[in-house]
C-alpha cells in the first residue's frame, strides 16, 4: 500500500515508537520474584518511571532470568539508569525488537518467494538454513553455560558471604559480651567499649 497518507501515519507511529524505545531501559538478571511495584519503586530513585513491562519468556530454559522494560520519562534519565545500575541486575538500552507491541516498520511490505529446488540459490539457502539452526543451538548452549557459570559464582559468593557474616556476628557478639575487651586487656591491645 503506497497511500501517502497511510505511510505518513505509519511513519509517525514508528517514530513515536522509536522515541519510546530510546526512553526505555532493558533490565535483565532480575529476580523473577520481583513484582511490578517493587521494580517501579526501585527505579524511581532515578526519576519517574512511566511504565514497566515484563517480557514474557516463551522460550529458553526456565532458569533464564526475566527481562523488564522500564520506560522512563526522558532519554537522559534512561541513560542515567543504564550507567548507574549495577549488579547483578543489568541495565542497557532497549531495542525495538524487544517490544512485543511494536508497530511495523513503515513502508515495508513483506515479500517472499518459494525457491524452486532447481534454482541456484536453493542450495545456498539450504545451507543458510542449516547454519541458522546451528546458530540457535550454539546460542542455546551459550545460555546454558552462562547459567552454569552464574550458578557457580553465586555459590561461591554465598559461601563467602555467610562466612563473612558469621565472622562479623561472632565479633559483634564478643564485643557485646565484653569478651573482646577482656582479651584485649590480656594481650595489651586496644579495644572499644562494649556496645549496648
Amino acid at each position: 500500500m503506497a497511500n501517502p497518507e497511510e505511510e505518513e501515519g505509519e511513519e509517525e507511529k514508528y517514530e513515536s515508537f522509536l522515541s519510546r524505545v530510546r526512553r526505555t531501559v532493558y533490565v535483565d538478571e532480575l529476580t523473577p520474584h520481583a513484582s511490578k511495584s517493587v521494580v517501579e519503586s526501585a527505579f524511581s530513585q532515578f526519576g519517574t518511571v512511566k511504565e514497566v513491562i515484563f517480557l514474557p519468556n516463551y522460550l529458553g530454559p526456565k532458569e533464564l532470568p526475566t527481562g523488564v522494560l522500564i520506560e522512563m520519562e526522558s532519554e537522559q534519565k534512561a541513560k542515567a539508569v543504564i550507567e548507574t545500575v549495577s549488579q547483578p541486575v543489568r541495565a542497557s538500552a532497549a531495542r525495538p525488537a524487544m517490544f512485543s507491541d511494536r508497530p511495523k516498520k513503515p513502508g515495508r511490505r513483506i515479500q517472499f518467494r518459494w525457491v524452486d529446488p532447481s534454482d541456484d540459490e536453493f542450495d545456498k539457502a539450504q545451507r543458510v538454513k542449516r547454519l541458522v539452526r546451528k546458530h540457535t543451538a550454539e546460542a542455546a548452549f551459550m545460555i546454558k553455560k552462562q547459567l552454569e557459570e552464574a550458578e557457580e559464582l553465586a555459590k561461591q559468593q554465598s559461601e563467602t558471604v555467610t562466612t563473612h557474616h558469621k565472622k562479623f556476628e561472632m565479633i559483634d557478639k564478643l564485643t557485646y559480651d565484653g569478651v573482646a575487651q577482656e582479651l584485649a586487656g590480656r594481650y595489651n591491645m586496644k579495644c572499644g567499649p562494649p556496645h549496648r
Binding site: E63, Q87, V115, A150
Partner: protein
C-alpha cells in the same frame, strides 16, 4: 458418512472441495419454474430511475433466495456447458418495464480461463483476475435467475486506492484478486486503470465503512448491519463447510466439454465511449445492447442477452451529482471494519455518483440451486435440486471449520497467548520460525503465513533480549491443526521460502517442551538480618540499590560485574562468528549483499 470425511479435512482443503463440489453440484437439472414470478426475490433500496425510460428502476440491492446481494457484491453464475461457475461482480441491478430483473456483471477470470496468457505468473490457488479493457467480454447483462450464490472476493492489490483487508476478512474470503486481465490485449497487469466498464475503479477495491457521518444518510443502520453480517459470515462459513457433506453424487454425464479459452468476437462495440462520463447519455441502447450482444460465444452461450431496444436503459450519468446524494461505498464483499489497518483516506472515495451502500452483508452463501442460464426463449427450464429447500433453510451445524472454533478476536488474544501456547505444544501445532527479520511484527508473520503457506495461524514474535541474535528474529507460530503444522515444516525444509534480504525461513519444532515459570534464582543472597524488611522487598531488595564501595555487597557486586562482562564478551564473539558464517554464504550468492 460424508460428514466424517469432511471432518478430517483441513480448512483449506475443505474450501477447495466445497468450491469444487459447488461447481459439480450446479450441473443438476432443475425443476420447471417457467412461468411463475420469482417467488423469493425482492428488491432492496431503489436507487434511481432511468433517465430516458422512466419505467426502468435501478436498485442498490436485492434479496434473492434469502441472500442479499448489494451492488458490487460478487456472485457465482452458471455457464452452460462448463464445469466451473463463473464469478462476477454485480455492478448494476435494475428492473425493466416488463418486469425483468437484470444485473450487469463484470467478470472475474479464473487462472484456468486465461492460462495461455499467464506466462510466468503463478497465481495463488484462490486467485482471480478482474476483467478490464475495451473488449466486450468484460461484462454482461444477465437475468437475476442466473445467480447461483454469493461469493466473497477480496482485493489484495497494492494500489493505493485499495484498503487491504483485515485478517478476518482475509480469512473469510473465498477468493482474492490483485491483478486485472485485459481481455483485449490479453495482458495480466497489476495496475488498475481509473475506471473499468465505466465505473470508477475504487468500487472494485475493498470498501471501508465511511467514518464521516455526513456522507451517509443511512449511517444509523450501518452498525447493526455490520454486526449482523459478522455472525452471518460465520454461519455462512459453517454452511459452506457443511456443504461438502451434503452434496449429492454428481452426474458425470453432465460434465460437458470444457471450453476454457475464450474467443473474443471481433465485434468491438466501444465500451469506453458509452458516454457514461458525459451527462447526456444518448438513448444508449445501441451501446449497451451492443455490449450485451457481444459475448464470448464459447463461454456465455446461454446468457440472457438483452434484445436491443427492449429493456435496455441508459443508466444515469455517473457523474451526475444532483440526482443522487454522494454515498460512500461499503465493502462489496467483506465486512469493512479494519482492526489494524490504519484509517484509509476516504478522500479517494468522493464519488459523486450515488454509489449505494455496498454490502455489509457479505460472506459466502452456498449456492442452493443450479440452473441453466435462460436464453431468450422463455421455455428454458431450471430444476431445483430435490430436497434442496431443506439445505437452505436449516443446515445443521456439524463440524465447524477449525478457523471458527479457534476464532479469537484480537483483543483478548494477547492475554491468552500463553495458554494457547501450552495447548498448542500439547497438540503439536506449534512451530518455531527462525531467521526472520528481527523487526517483523506478529501481524506480519501471520500475513506471511497466510500468503506463503496458505494457512491461518496465530503468531507471536519472540521479544529480543541481550542474548538473542540481533540479526535473527524468531516467532512462535500456532497452526490450527497438527497436520497444517507438519505440512508447513516439511514444506519449509524441503523447499525454500525466501524472505527479503535473502533470508530463507527456517521452521522447526525445536523448542524446550516446558516453558515454566522461572524457578529459584541464582545470585541473590539472603542475609539473615533482613527479617525486618517486608517480604517482597526481602527477595528483591539486594538489587534495588546501588552499592557504595564500603558496603559489604560491593565486593560481590564487583564479581558479578566481572562475570557479566565476561559473558557479554563471549556473546559478542559468538554473534560475530555467526554473522561471519552467514556472510560467507551470502557473499557467494551475491557479493553486494552483506549482512551484519
Amino acid at each position: 458418512m460424508k460428514l466424517k470425511v469432511s471432518m478430517l479435512l483441513s480448512p483449506k482443503l475443505k474450501k477447495m472441495m466445497s468450491l469444487f463440489m459447488e461447481d459439480l453440484f450446479m450441473l443438476q437439472p432443475k425443476s420447471n419454474r417457467g412461468g411463475e414470478e420469482h417467488p423469493d426475490f425482492k428488491w432492496g433500496d431503489k436507487k434511481a430511475v432511468g433517465r430516458t425510460d422512466k419505467s426502468v428502476s435501478f436498485y442498490e440491492s436485492f434479496t434473492f433466495e434469502d441472500v442479499e446481494y448489494r451492488l458490487f457484491d460478487c456472485a457465482y453464475f452458471q455457464i452452460h456447458g462448463q464445469c466451473e461457475t463463473s464469478i462476477g461482480k454485480l455492478i448494476r441491478m435494475y428492473e425493466t418495464s416488463s418486469g425483468e430483473k437484470k444485473v450487469k456483471v463484470l467478470w472475474f477470470f479464473r487462472p484456468m480461463d486465461i492460462r495461455s496468457y499467464l506466462r510466468d505468473y503463478v497465481p495463488q490457488w484462490d486467485e482471480l483476475f478482474l476483467a478490464c479493457g475495451d473488449d466486450p467480454g468484460v461484462y454482461n447483462i444477465n437475468d437475476v435467475d442466473t445467480i447461483l450464490g454469493k461469493c466473497s472476493v477480496v482485493c489484495l492489490s497494492d494500489d493505493r486506492r485499495n484498503p487491504l483487508p483485515t485478517r478476518r476478512e482475509l480469512r473469510n474470503a473465498r477468493y482474492v484478486f490483485s491483478r486485472t486481465f485485459d481481455t483485449k490485449r490479453k495482458i495480466i497487469s497489476e495496475d488498475f486503470a481509473d475506471a473499468i466498464a465505466g465505473i470508477r475503479v475504487e468500487k472494485f477495491f475493498n470498501q471501508r465503512i465511511d467514518k464521516d457521518p455526513l456522507k451517509r444518510p443511512y449511517s444509523s443502520s450501518d452498525p447493526v448491519k455490520y454486526f449482523r453480517s459478522e455472525s452471518r459470515l460465520e454461519k455462512n462459513y459453517d454452511r459452506d463447510g457443511k456443504l461438502t457433506c451434503r452434496t449429492s453424487p454428481v452426474k458425470k454425464e453432465v460434465l460437458a466439454d470444457r471450453v476454457h479459452v475464450k474467443k473474443y468476437p471481433p465485434v468491438n462495440t466501444d465500451i469506453t465511449s458509452r458516454g457514461l462520463k458525459t451527462k447526456t447519455t444518448p438513448l444508449g441502447s445501441p451501446l449497451v445492447s451492443g455490449s450485451s450482444g457481444d459475448h464470448k460465444p464459447s463461454k456465455r452461450r446461454k446468457l440472457v442477452l438483452n434484445t436491443p431496444d427492449s429493456d435496455c436503459c441508459p443508466e444515469p450519468g455517473e457523474k451526475k451529482v444532483t440526482k443522487n446524494p454522494p454515498l460512500v461505498d461499503k465493502a462489496p464483499s467483506q465486512t469493512s471494519v479494519s482492526a489494524d489497518i490504519t484509517s484509509r483516506g476516504l478522500k479517494t472515495k468522493t464519488t459523486p455518483l450515488g454509489s449505494p451502500l455496498g454490502s455489509v452483508s457479505s460472506g459466502d452463501h452456498k449456492p442452493s440451486k443450479t440452473r441453466n442460464l435462460v436464453l431468450n426463449t422463455p421455455d428454458s427450464d431450471y430444476f431445483p435440486e430435490p430436497g434442496e429447500k431443506k439445505l437452505t433453510k436449516n443446515p445443521p451445524l456439524v463440524d465447524k471449520a477449525p478457523s471458527q472454533t479457534i476464532g479469537r478476536s484480537s483483543w483478548y488474544k494477547k492475554l491468552n497467548f500463553e495458554e494457547e501456547l501450552k495447548r498448542a505444544i500439547e497438540t503439536e501445532r506449534l512451530v518455531l520460525f527462525e531467521n526472520l527479520e528481527p523487526s517483523y511484527t506478529s501481524m506480519e508473520v501471520e500475513n506471511l503465513c497466510r500468503q506463503a503457506l496458505k494457512e491461518r495461524v496465530d503468531a507471536k514474535m519472540i521479544p529480543a533480549s541481550l542474548v538473542s541474535n540481533p540479526h535473527i528474529g524468531r516467532a512462535l507460530v500456532i497452526f490450527y491443526t497438527k497436520k497444517a503444522a507438519d505440512n508447513a515444516i516439511s514444506r519449509l525444509t524441503r523447499e525454500c521460502l525466501m524472505l527479503d534480504d535473502q533470508r530463507p525461513l527456517v521452521g522447526s519444532r525445536d523448542f524446550p517442551k516446558e516453558v515454566r515459570e522461572c524457578g529459584s534464582f541464582t545470585g541473590h543472597q539472603r542475609l539473615v538480618d533482613r527479617a525486618l524488611m517486608s517480604i517482597s522487598k526481602r527477595k528483591a531488595v539486594s538489587t534495588a540499590h546501588c552499592t557504595q564501595p564500603n558496603h559489604i555487597v560491593h565486593e560481590l557486586a564487583v564479581e558479578w560485574k566481572a562475570l557479566h562482562a565476561k559473558s557479554e564478551g563471549k556473546w559478542k564473539r559468538l554473534l560475530e562468528e555467526q554473522a561471519k558464517e552467514i556472510n560467507i554464504i551470502f557473499r557467494r550468492k551475491n557479493p553486494k549483499n552483506v549482512r551484519g
